[in-house]
Symmetry: C2
Subunit: 353 residues, 2 copies
DNA sequence: TTGTAGGCGTTATCAG
DNA sequence: CTGATAACGCCTACAA
């Protein structure tokens, strides 16, 4: 209380003056980039404590260094929806790992349409990780590339030289389908993820596929159709158990058109379908076989193990983080292809007669 | 390709020169903070497009404005664990809403111990939202306060003048307990959230309570003990279904010590306890009553509705966001107390004879 | 080991 | 409505 209320926060120059050293010396004390005599260091630290100086202003440091230490993760849709999906959370986990000590943290943002004040254009970040790649995300991509910042796209065709992290969705889906085919099923229905930002829950037509913007959906569908070219498909409006229930009812209610197996493009959807089946009194796998995709831990299957393809979700995030780190280090980013592993569970079985 | 490869990105000064205007004019064109003649604006925009100028550098703008537009959210523990909890995700959702147009996004970070290079000290953010407030988080709090940035603490005693968002955990827990008491139960066991960063799964002793650092846990326990002063309690190591199963087994396996009702401090724990009960052949609520806390949507209860206290999770986040917005606007932040609503479900019933 | 000087790219202010 | 100028707070050659 010896002095008047200070009009503004102290700067490193104030600290230096107080300590009787040059500002550069004080700066070095905080950054640790060079050796400083212990006594000098003490004096600077004492002066800082005295003035209530909490360290260099990160904003100024960012400008000077040209780095903010923040990596942006752009998600499609509401944050909550994104985090409802276990695959996404696992990926985020891997991402933080891959970014390790490089980054101060992860800036979560939604990819809004071409808004004027869009966060994507104004956030002080060093790099971007885009997840998924629908039409809307593609617009975001342009902005980001325009800013000249490193970008990595997870599961989406970014076009050009943009490094991507991809999955063998076509082959892995075909694997699952083949397993079901081998069990004798011929009357199979498909449940897909959303085809585009409309996220309409509806029968999948050739026209809709042609206009689809979500690559994951298209690729997994392609894999399934390699084995079951004519299987009818319904697109869900998201990867949620509840959605699976709704679509499941659409597929299973009418005994006349009921398939003997359902292939879902995500485990959550598969669980929903199973739940719908149970509601209708169908037993899984005796009356109906159901397979999913993702290989997440799912609750509420009561002893059943889902037949699915296990994707390396954490690895996906980590790979993205590593590429970002590389690019920030000046090296070129590389596209990485990851593969899924088929897992036979107890939700698929022989065709009922 | 008319020019050589540019050595550095163009700046607003380059654009201004190219357009034949002053840098300040060009700046205004991009910020929109003042009127500019349409013709001039066009010229500037054209020059920008020409040079491949993607807009003002956010880092420089941050320094100049003294704002980065980023709000940090500090979570305890691994991000994945945090997002596994539906209450947290709901809260984050509300938070983004409350921050609305004010913020470019949410910077996720963990509260690491007093590391030198801690993100908390170096991230260019405008404000902090701390979630929970264990011992570790309290350390973070000091750093943040030292930086002189606005802080809001959700569910935790920050001490001092720090604005908080709180829940009536004591009263709400007592409500749940009273409901169970009214049903006739006297032999009740409690399952608590973690007491501290150790997150030990173990019987709760007076000593452990005295040393507890997680206020939520202590408060909810206090409410429960108001009704059942002598009820034994076990602390879980987290709010997870699996944890509930483990603790449930500890409580229910031995018929001699088996309670007639279990009060859990979270819905996920309650679901786990129910699952453990089912494993042991106990019917809920005929043989065992189970109540939770939170009021989240939970899957896998097979037709049962959990008796619980519904907390305003989204509202909590929104309130925090609003307070941050207020404080950034120069007004003082206010502490807000939110209340839960009891919801009787079908997982509690009369005492079995 | 310490000090000096210049600039990172913007934007607020104020005069024209 | 436009233009000149001065910070914002820090970092890092470079020189001493």
């Amino acid at each position: 209380m010896s002095s008047q209320e200070t009009p503004r926060r102290p700067t490193i120059a104030d600290v230096a003056r107080e300590a009787g050293v040059a500002t550069s010396t004080a700066s070095v004390v905080f950054s640790g980039k060079a050796n400083v005599a212990a006594a000098t260091r003490e004096r600077v630290l004492a002066a800082a404590a005295d003035l209530g100086y909490a360290g260099p202003d990160p904003r100024a440091a960012s400008l000077r260094r040209g780095r903010s230490g923040i990596v942006a993760v752009v998600l499609e849709g509401h944050l909550r929806a994104a985090f409802l999906d276990p695959v996404t959370t696992a990926m985020m986990d891997g991402l933080t790992d891959g970014l390790a000590d490089l980054s101060a943290g992860i800036l979560l943002m939604r990819d809004e349409p071409g808004e004027e004040g869009a966060a994507i254009t104004h956030a002080p970040v060093d790099a971007f990780v885009l997840i998924g790649c629908s039409g809307r995300t593609k617009a975001s991509l342009e902005v980001v590339v325009g800013r000249g910042l490193p970008v990595v796209v997870i599961e989406g065709d970014a076009g050009g030289e943009i490094p991507r992290i991809t999955l063998d969705n076509v082959a892995a889906s075909a694997d699952v389908a083949r397993h079901v085919h081998d069990l004798g099923h011929r009357d199979v229905a498909l449940v897909t993820l959303p085809l585009d930002s409309e996220r309409e829950r509806a029968a999948v037509t050739p026209e809709r596929i042609a206009n689809a913007t979500v690559d994951v959906t298209v690729h997994r569908l392609e894999g399934m159709r390699q084995v079951f070219p004519d299987a009818p498909a319904i697109s869900a409006s998201g990867s949620l158990i509840d959605e699976g229930v709704l679509v499941g009812r659409m597929l299973l209610t009418d005994p006349a058109t009921r398939p003997t197996a359902v292939l879902a493009q995500s485990d959550l959807l598969a669980v929903g379908v199973i739940r719908a089946a149970e509601e209708l009194g169908l037993r899984v796998p005796e009356d109906l076989s159901v397979a999913g995709f993702d290989g997440i831990e799912v609750d509420g299957l009561g002893g059943l193990t889902l037949t699915t393809s296990v994707q390396p979700a954490v690895e996906k995030g980590r790979a993205a983080g590593e590429q970002v780190a590389r690019m920030l280090g000046g090296e070129p980013g590389m596209t990485q292809h990851l593969t899924c592993v088929f897992r036979a569970g107890t939700t698929t079985g022989p065709v009922p007669r």
